[in-house]
């Protein structure tokens, strides 16, 4: 199963840090994601792109997980040579993860 089948997501950038919020569609999906979609799993998914640590914050009220990915934007939007300097498309890349 792909993550996009049970959740939606949004990426945001601050300096060289990208955060992706993953929101489960149902409370059952949230419970499952809290168990399996760990920071380690996300770091492994982005091993070529995220150079620093990944932290996960849980928001059960909102059925949301917030992943904060350090050193993930090649210096940040102002100096990155990347086509997607903001990392706007990283949410789509995470939703393609196979659970």
């Amino acid at each position: 199963m792909k993550l996009y089948e049970i959740a939606h997501a949004r990426a945001g950038d601050k300096g060289n840090i990208s955060n992706i919020v993953v929101v489960a569609n149902t409370s059952e999906d949230y419970a499952m994601l809290e168990a399996v979609l760990t920071a380690t799993r996300v770091k492994a998914h982005f091993e070529d792109l995220v150079m620093g640590a990944v932290q996960r914050y849980e928001l059960p009220n909102l059925m949301a997980l917030n992943f904060v990915m350090h050193s993930s934007l090649q210096g940040g939007v102002t100096k990155s040579t990347a086509l997607d300097a903001h990392g706007k498309s990283l949410s789509s890349a995470l939703l393609n993860l196979t659970l």
Binding site: H8, V21, Y57, A82, S89, S91, A93, L95, N96
Partner: protein
């Protein structure tokens, strides 16, 4: 119970204009806020002011205000914006020339406030102000530092509203503060009422990116179930005296407001949800709850806050070399292989002809440009591919070399190279430092027009 209705008229400097006109006309608003100042935008504005002391404000200020003010002023909707950028005084003078004839036609007087005091460049150029990102002092970078602006909080904006301002034009002020200020003013919130200040900041955070909460950038990676994105409506919040709110939009506008779109926006660009520091408060988003109350109506409550950070954050703009980009396309049989060969040739040529780069990358657009080869699964070879070479250098001559070498592939490279585009721009990087609050002295300059 008294409520205040605040609309969000722009989520960034270049945002669409008509949704704000729609909000001003049909939103039954008390306030309309325009957030138009990204971190780098103020450094660019500072450069523009250095070239011409009467400029340095938002380039779309005139177009936006000419479109919005007739609708807003005739309905007594107050305007708050950071479109003053590096020159709020000049922006206020400019807005006065647009608002003057409207005020005359309406037979009313208008007060326009400019908020200054965020520019702390002279202060941080001396002493031991350390950049958080690189641990260098600002002083050590000398003339490469072109701007330093402290994030102001809501209090100078509240002062302006207390003095009767109809239009408030600031420069670097925290985005959320532009939404918190009218709430603090209308409900007379104390500046140590951390829970309410936290809730008001959350309202601001939800609204400040405009269309992102009404269905723009809603990524469910399926068929987009948000309707009429070409006519996306911008959001408004109806806020009560405790800072709880209903997020909604003008009936009949495009997009949609759901718990899903609001949850994505609540955590947009947030790190620790319990600790979101802005100049006015350290907001706590962790207890926020939401409920769909009706079509395009989401109730939000449960925000909290703790004391504000002791120091203010300063955005420092630094001239940081040059960024070159150049692209060329290949099509038909073997397009991807020729694209890869072109990358190898340009890499070898740049080693021969250029002085060196701080960073260089080669992308095949449509193949691996966004996320690299491992995450980019591809089923069949595509019909066409676009090569992109991007590099950052200290010297502009090295940056220029990138485009020259890609262009030379027309006659010196693999067959059928097509559609070269090339550009070089100066890099304006942004770092941050902290300053004690006592060093930042905001001022309100009021002018009255009409009557």
């Amino acid at each position: 119970m008294k409520t205040v209705r605040i609309g969000s008229g722009a989520g960034y400097s270049g945002d669409r204009i008509e949704p704000a006109v729609e909000l001003a006309r049909d939103g039954n608003l008390d306030y309309l806020v325009f957030e138009c100042l990204a971190e780098r935008t103020i450094a660019i504005a500072q450069q523009s002011r250095l070239r011409d002391p009467d400029r340095g404000y938002d380039p779309l200020l005139v177009e936006r205000m000419e479109a919005v003010l007739p609708e807003a002023l005739s309905r007594k909707v107050k305007i708050i914006t950071n479109m003053g950028a590096a020159n709020p005084l000049a922006a206020a003078a400019c807005v006065a020339t647009i608002a003057g004839p409207i005020a005359h036609r309406l037979g009313r007087s208008l007060r326009i406030a400019a908020i200054t005091g965020d520019d702390v460049l002279k202060r941080v150029q001396i002493g031991d102000y350390r950049l958080l990102e690189s641990n260098r002092t600002v002083a050590s970078l000398g003339a490469r530092v072109i701007s330093a602006n402290a994030y102001l909080g809501a209090s100078p904006l509240v002062d302006a509203l207390t003095q009767g301002a109809d239009i408030v034009i600031a420069g670097r002020v925290a985005d959320s503060a532009m939404f918190l200020a009218p709430l603090s003013y209308e409900f007379r919130w104390r500046d140590d009422d951390w829970t309410r200040l936290g809730c008001g900041t959350i309202v601001g955070h939800l609204l400040e990116c405009a269309g992102q909460i009404t269905g723009g950038y809603y990524d469910n990676s399926g068929p987009q179930d948000v309707t009429a994105l070409a006519r996306l409506g911008f959001p408004l919040a109806e806020v009560d005296e405790n800072g709880n709110c209903m997020i909604t939009k003008v009936a009949g506008s495009g997009g949609g407001i759901t718990v899903a779109t609001c949850t994505e926006q609540l955590l947009y660009e947030i790190h620790d949800p319990q600790h979101y520091p802005v100049p006015d408060v350290t907001a706590d988003l962790s207890g926020v709850q939401m409920k769909q109350q009706g079509a395009d109506q989401v109730a939000v409550w449960g925000g909290a806050g703790r004391p504000a950070p002791e120091q203010l954050k300063v955005t420092v703009g630094i001239l940081d070399g040059f960024l070159a980009e150049a692209e060329i396309s290949y099509a038909g049989p073997g397009a991807v292989e020729r694209g890869r060969l072109a990358c190898e040739i340009v890499a070898e040529r740049l080693r021969m002809t250029a002085g060196g780069f701080e960073d260089i990358r080669f992308d095949l657009i449509g193949i691996d440009a966004l996320h690299g080869s491992r995450l980019s699964q591809r089923a069949e070879p595509p019909y066409e591919v676009r090569v992109r070479v991007a590099a950052r250098s200290r010297a502009s001559c090295d940056a220029e070399r990138v485009g020259r070498e890609v262009e030379a592939l027309y006659t010196n490279g693999p067959a059928g190279g097509a559609g070269v585009r090339r550009s070089v721009r100066e890099v304006l990087s942004i770092e941050s430092c902290l300053v004690p609050r006592r060093h930042v002295r905001p001022e309100v300059r009021m002018q009255e027009i009409g009557q």
